[in-house]
Symmetry: C2
């Protein structure tokens, strides 16, 4: 039963979102608690699957030529099953079911546009015959892709604010 994060958890997560390798001891000093407290809370959050500390980076810098967003429509009654099968593709990084004119939205990585085209026109339809249509958006430039939480914690605590100082310095621009 994954209970929500308390204020101390959030501060720890914010600190690690800024720098995932920052020593627990250092974070503990800043927050006025012991190193063990930071450690045990992070262990709990990771064990519960709520948080992971990981290397993230720009796909386009890591040898990925093409990043695409694909909207998928599925024969009624087969959405959940189709979504589950899409998660098995190594080049699909995101799979979500949705309300609206698409049943599933995915983000996929490709070496080049030829690879993307083959994927959409051949691989996907033959792997998931319940697909009734797809719509593909090849991304030209990723201007923001953020993993920090400080701004969100501020936003959710203070609904009035909009478009103030942003996370940009700690995000990776994936151009």
């Amino acid at each position: 039963m994954p209970e929500s994060l308390d204020d101390l958890d959030r501060r720890i997560v914010s600190a690690l979102a800024r720098d995932g390798r920052r020593p627990y001891r250092d974070i503990a000093r800043e927050l006025g608690v012991s190193e063990g407290t930071v450690r045990s809370r992070m262990t709990r959050l990771q064990d519960e699957g709520l948080i992971r500390v990981t290397a993230v980076g720009s796909p386009l810098a890591l040898g990925v030529g093409v990043v695409a967003l694909i909207l998928v429509r599925i024969r009624p009654g087969h959405v959940q099953d189709a979504a589950k099968r899409l998660t098995a593709f190594p080049n699909i990084r995101f799979v979500g079911t949705s309300f609206g004119s698409a049943d599933i939205t995915i983000q996929s990585l490709h070496r080049d546009v030829k690879d993307l085209h083959r994927f959409v026109s051949e691989t996907l339809p033959s792997a998931i015959p319940e697909i009734t249509s797809t719509e593909t958006f090849q991304l030209a430039e990723v201007l923001k892709s953020t993993w920090t939480w400080g701004d969100w914690f501020e936003y959710v605590d203070n609904p009035a604010e909009e478009a103030h100082a942003s996370d940009r310095e700690t995000s990776i621009s994936e151009t």
Copy 2:
């Protein structure tokens, strides 16, 4: 000039994608190089903005009630400027310009559907008057959201493979 990653860089990044807090010394032992080599390569990759080690987690577990994908169309000639202004919103986590029937795709976070609706119907149009239309997909369930690179490195090195063993155990399912 960000040159691409060599094989050793990739192995280091893969290891840190699995566990971002794993000691450099431990990774170095596994890869048969010195700790300093792992450290200096990570320093370079981080300084060049190619890789970041960070805490990532399930938005829906962190107090985010609603995650949406929004496709945005913009008056011709204003796409780049509008995209840049969208990056300033703290509740927008992803901004990409794209080819296809949308000019910009964004991912946004909201407390509830009322907040999402206000954002789409009021906040966005008044902040970015060049928007000509939007299409919103409220995400119901995120089945995959992966940050590891091992599978991609395999995929890009071996085009024939499809839908084999996946990253799922190291991704966070954002239900």
